[in-house]
Each structure stands twice: as structure tokens, then as C-alpha cells.
């Protein structure tokens, strides 16, 4: 970063403009979210108040309570989504660790092409795969099941996970493993005892990424699960609240807040890992 430009104590016009831009961007990014949170604490009347209340004059937990009511499927959706997302993260991380270790430490002649093939699957239009996976799952009885969705989500998150972990493995010096071999450690044992403990930032990144792929997905969740008991939260919300004019947007916003919270919390706690994972390997140095 340039150290030469002199910085007086008075901000220059250029600097003010830059901060103005930053402020506008923050406004653009956060105002809608603020409105979402604000709406989630309003009763039906306050929702349509004019002038609009950015801070509700009579905040209420009614919308949230409605979601937890016995006849509301929100908790079922939430539980189903959590189960699928955690399972998808666990499976994805496990498969990715093994595969990435192979790519990094035991490459063979075509392994570079194979890795590229994995990453290349990201280009498949999901809706094209959707058509046949739908028929396949229908034939083997995986339609309307949570397990089926887990399989699909792992295929979506696996290539990037392998890529990320392989790049991270590459940065770990091989001397450690070679020392372990000299000590008589087997190849798998070396992976678990020597290398994995050093990989926690990358593993956390991959786990979060895979979790989010499942947590956030809509298209497959919407198409594959039509039975209410197994429905996930994203399709549930769209089917129940969207497209038709109803006065329950406050409930909808409350639900959005609730499904956003785990993600935001995860993200704040682990922002550094996530960003490092994103940008590692794609930026040199």
C-alpha cells in the first residue's frame, strides 16, 4: 500500500468522496436488512402504517410467536433444513479431505485433469441435472427424502471443497509427513495424526461452505420434496408466503430473520476463515 502520499490531519475532498461512497454502499447493503428486521417486530396494523415506521412504535413478538404456534410448520421446516445442512457438511468435508489429500500428496498422471473435471461440474446447469436426478431419485425411492437432498448438496459443494483443501494441503511442508513415515507411521495414520490437526482453518471454511450450500438452496429443495413433513424452510416460505397478497409479511420477515441468524452468527465468528478460504488459491501471494 502506498506510503508516499502525504496524509495531513484534514481529510482531502477526494478522501471525503471515498468515504461518501462507502457510506452509500453501507446504506444500500444494510437498509433493506434493517427494514426486514423492523417489519418482523410489527403487528399487522403497523406494517401498513404511513409514514413507514423504520423503528416500530409498538414492537411486538407476535410474528415470531406465530411461527412457533403448534399449527405452523416452521419448526418442522427448520429442523429438516438443519438436519440436511449438517449432514451435507459432514459428508462433504469427509469426502473432500480424502480426495484433496490424494490430489495434493499422491498425484498421478491424469490427476490434474481429474481435478479440473471435478471443478468443471460447477458449469452444469443445475436445472438440467435436476431433470434426470428427479427421475433417478423417483426410481430408487429417494424422492421426498432428506437423504436424497444431502446427496445432491454434497455434489454441489464437493468440487470447491476439494479445490480449497487441496490448495491448503499444498501449503503444508511435506517434511512433517516424511518424518512420520520414517517413524513407521502409515499413510492414513499420517494424514490423521500429523496433517489434519494443521488444517483446521481450511476444514472450518469447507464445513461452513458446505453447510451454507445446503442451508441456502431452493431449487432442488422445492422440486424434490413435496410432502409437508419433509419440507425444508426455503420452499416452505416461498410456497406459503410469496406471490399471493396476504397480510403476513411480518411473519415472513420474522422467519427470514430466524433462518438468517445461524448464518450471520457463524459468519461473524468465523469471517476470517471464510474469507481466507474464498480467496486462497485464487490469488497469488
Amino acid at each position: 500500500m502506498s506510503m508516499i502520499r502525504s496524509r495531513g490531519s484534514r481529510p482531502s475532498a477526494g478522501r471525503l468522496a471515498l468515504f461518501g461512497l462507502l457510506a452509500l454502499a453501507l446504506l444500500f447493503a444494510l437498509a433493506p436488512v434493517a427494514w426486514m428486521v423492523s417489519t418482523s417486530f410489527k403487528n399487522a396494523g403497523a406494517m401498513f402504517a404511513i409514514p413507514p415506521q423504520w423503528i416500530p412504535t409498538e414492537p411486538t413478538l407476535e410474528p415470531y410467536a406465530a411461527l412457533f404456534a403448534a399449527d405452523h410448520p416452521f419448526l418442522t421446516w427448520f429442523r429438516n433444513t438443519a438436519v440436511v445442512a449438517v449432514a451435507a457438511a459432514l459428508v462433504s468435508v469427509t469426502l473432500a479431505i480424502f480426495a484433496a489429500y490424494g490430489f495434493s500428496r499422491y498425484p498421478f498422471r491424469r490427476s490434474g485433469a481429474l481435478l479440473l473435471a471435478f471443478v468443471g461440474t460447477q458449469m452444469f446447469p443445475p436445472v438440467l441435472s435436476l431433470i434426470s436426478i428427479y427421475v433417478l431419485f423417483s426410481d430408487v425411492g429417494l424422492l421426498n427424502t432428506l437423504q436424497g437432498l444431502v446427496f445432491v448438496y454434497v455434489t454441489i459443494s464437493l468440487p470447491f471443497s476439494i479445490w480449497m483443501l487441496k490448495n491448503y494441503f499444498d501449503t503444508i511442508p511435506r517434511e512433517l509427513e516424511e518424518a512420520a513415515f520414517l517413524d513407521g507411521c502409515g499413510r492414513l495414520a499420517t494424514l490423521f495424526r500429523v496433517v489434519l490437526p494443521l488444517m483446521s482453518p481450511a476444514i472450518v471454511s469447507v464445513a461452513i461452505f458446505s453447510f451454507l450450500v445446503a442451508w441456502n438452496e431452493l431449487l432442488f429443495a422445492l422440486t424434490f420434496i413435496t410432502r409437508d413433513a419433509n419440507r425444508l424452510v426455503a420452499p416452505g416460505l416461498v410456497i406459503r408466503y410469496a406471490g399471493q397478497y396476504q397480510s403476513s409479511q411480518n411473519e415472513l420477515m420474522a422467519a427470514s430473520v430466524l433462518i438468517g441468524l445461524p448464518v450471520i452468527v457463524l459468519f461473524i465468528a468465523l469471517q476470517r476463515y471464510v474469507i481466507a478460504g474464498l480467496t486462497m488459491g485464487s490469488v497469488k501471494g
Binding site: M1, S2, M3, I4, L18, L21, L22, A25, F28, A29, L30, P32, V33, W35, M36, M47, I50, P52, L95, A96, A99, G102, Y106, F108, S111, F118, T121, Q122, M123, F124, P125, V127, L128, L130, I131, S132, V135, F151, V154, T155, L158, R187, W215, N216, L218, L219, A234, V238, G243, M253, S256, G260, V263, I264, I268, I275, L278, S282, V283, K284
Partner: protein, 297 residues
């Protein structure tokens, strides 16, 4: 490695086997099946003639269909505008954040919220914001006396696509910002300083040092986000359901409707196949000609 070479390759393949198996069974095989389906009738409303071979008929029907061709136009406009907009905004903010700044990670974290929020939340939020009678956008515009009549952001054909583009820029600019900021931080400070000493102005330093250094990153980010924008479902369907009319019916929504609303799986598969081929060609061209060969300084 002390072990024999051949045994290492087998070991490697064994490590990769579960991943390969899963991807193969759940993704690759069905995809190939889909491509085959594109040559079959596969109309679920005529179950007796499901696998009847129709050759290129679906492809011909599509190429002659205005709705299909329009979906390409809509998608190309949507992708160019949303990716371009998100990229420009993201780059601008990255440039600002690249300056010496206290609490930079707070700002970056706050700006990441649109991208981190579950897409369905974002989509339904913007659906509510854009609501012509009660959405906060029109309410605020009226409140400040800027408009008399509600603007049909998503209820009218002329603005619906633009509205989804704005929502997409909102959602995706943070991704561009993060990637480009990381790239900016790898530009060697000494080069910039040396150029400044030589009298190069800010724009010149940007054009001749910063941009070339970031070229591969920029090309990669643009290509990836362009491909992803074709696959966008939630941020369009969640806001407009593809309407009004066909104004926001991108290629992805077209294929989805053809398969799951009209049950013409064969035709949907053909549309998907065309999409795959076109994007593969574009990607190959961009990678071949867009990426500068690695010049290790």
C-alpha cells in the same frame, strides 16, 4: 515418498473413490441421461410414449420458439447488467477498503451481509420492498414527495427485470468486493510507490500497474459470476415468479417451467443441453484467450 509409485497411485484413487463415486452416480450419470432425454419425447402427459425417440425435434422446436429465444435475450441482459453492476460496485468499494482504514474488517463484514443472508430471505425481502402499494420503496418515495403514483417495480413488465437486477447487484456485489480486495492487497506496494515517484498519477498507476496485476483474477471472477448468473433461480423466481408475463423468464426459469410446470422433460433437457454447450464454449474461449499466462516476476 518411500512407498512404491504404483501403490501410491492406487492409494490415491482409493482416497478419491468415494468422491468420484458420488459425483458420478448423482451428477454425471443423470446429466448424461438428461442429454439422452433431450432426444426423446419424454412428455409426462403422455406416459406411454415416454422414451420414444424424436431426434432433433425438440431442438428445432426451441429454435423456432419466440418464448425460448426471448428467454436467452432476457438472460443475457440480466447477466450482463447484474454481473457488470455488481463488479463495478464491488471494485469501487474494494478500492475504498484498500486504503488505510481503521475497522476495515467491520466494514467488510457489514457489507457482506447481503451475500451471507439466505437467498430466499433476500428474494422475499425484495419482493416485499418492491410491493407497489405497501412496499417500503414506493412508500418512501411518496413520503419524500418524489412520486404521486406507485411505481410498478415488479407488477409491471417494463421494470420487473430491472428490479431483479438491482436485487442481484445488492446480493452479489459483496462477493466481487471480497475477491477484488484480496487481489488489490497483493499488488506490490513498492511498484506503486516507484511509479508515484516517477510522476505517475493515480489513474495511470491504476491502469498500468494495478489492473494488469489483477487481470487473471478479474477474468476469473467475471467468468464465474457470469456462469452463476445463468443459474440464478431464487433471486428471480422468489421476487417475480418469472412474471409478469415473460419479462423475467430467464433461461433457467424457462427450463424449470418447461420441465415442472408443463412436464415436457424432453424439451427442457434440450434447452438445458444448448445452455451447457454454449456456456462451455464461452468458458473455453475466455480461459484460452482471456487469462494471461503466469508470469512469475
Amino acid at each position: 515418498m518411500i512407498a512404491l509409485r504404483r501403490s501410491n497411485t492406487l492409494f490415491s484413487l482409493a482416497l478419491m473413490a468415494p468422491a468420484i463415486l458420488l459425483m458420478g452416480l448423482v451428477l454425471v450419470v443423470p446429466l448424461v441421461r438428461s442429454l439422452v432425454t433431450s432426444f426423446q419425447l419424454y412428455d409426462l402427459t403422455e406416459p406411454a410414449r415416454l422414451t420414444e425417440w424424436v431426434g432433433l425435434r425438440h431442438y428445432q422446436t426451441l429454435l423456432g420458439s419466440d418464448i425460448y429465444l426471448d428467454s436467452w435475450k432476457t438472460t443475457l441482459f440480466y447477466s450482463a447488467a447484474s454481473v457488470g453492476g455488481a463488479f463495478l460496485l464491488g471494485f469501487a468499494i474494494a478500492l475504498v477498503l484498500n486504503k488505510p482504514l481503521r475497522h476495515r474488517s467491520w466494514f467488510r463484514g457489514a457489507l457482506l451481509v447481503p451475500w451471507v443472508l439466505p437467498p430466499v430471505s433476500g428474494a422475499l425481502l425484495w419482493w416485499w420492498i418492491y410491493n407497489s402499494e405497501n412496499g417500503i420503496l414506493n412508500l418512501s418515495l411518496r413520503q419524500f414527495g418524489l412520486i404521486d403514483q406507485p411505481i410498478p417495480w415488479i407488477s409491471g413488465e417494463s421494470l420487473a427485470l430491472l428490479s431483479t437486477i438491482i436485487a442481484a447487484i445488492w446480493r452479489y456485489f459483496p462477493f466481487h468486493m471480497v475477491m477484488l480486495l484480496a487481489g488489490l492487497q497483493t499488488v506490490p506496494g513498492e511498484l506503486i510507490d516507484a511509479a508515484a515517484v516517477d510522476g505517475a498519477g493515480v489513474l495511470q498507476r491504476f491502469r498500468h500497474i494495478t489492473l494488469p496485476h489483477m487481470r487473471n483474477l478479474i477474468v476469473t471472477v467475471l467468468l464465474l459470476t457470469f456462469i452463476w448468473s445463468f443459474q440464478e433461480f431464487t433471486m428471480i423466481w422468489g421476487i417475480t415468479l418469472g412474471g409478469p408475463g415473460f419479462s423475467t423468464r430467464t433461461l433457467n426459469l424457462f427450463v424449470y417451467d418447461t420441465a415442472f410446470k408443463f412436464f415436457r422433460m424432453g424439451q427442457a433437457a434440450a434447452a438445458g443441453a444448448i445452455w451447457l454447450v454454449v456456456l462451455a464454449i464461452v468458458a473455453l474461449i475466455v480461459v484460452r484467450f482471456g487469462l494471461a499466462r503466469d508470469r512469475s516476476a
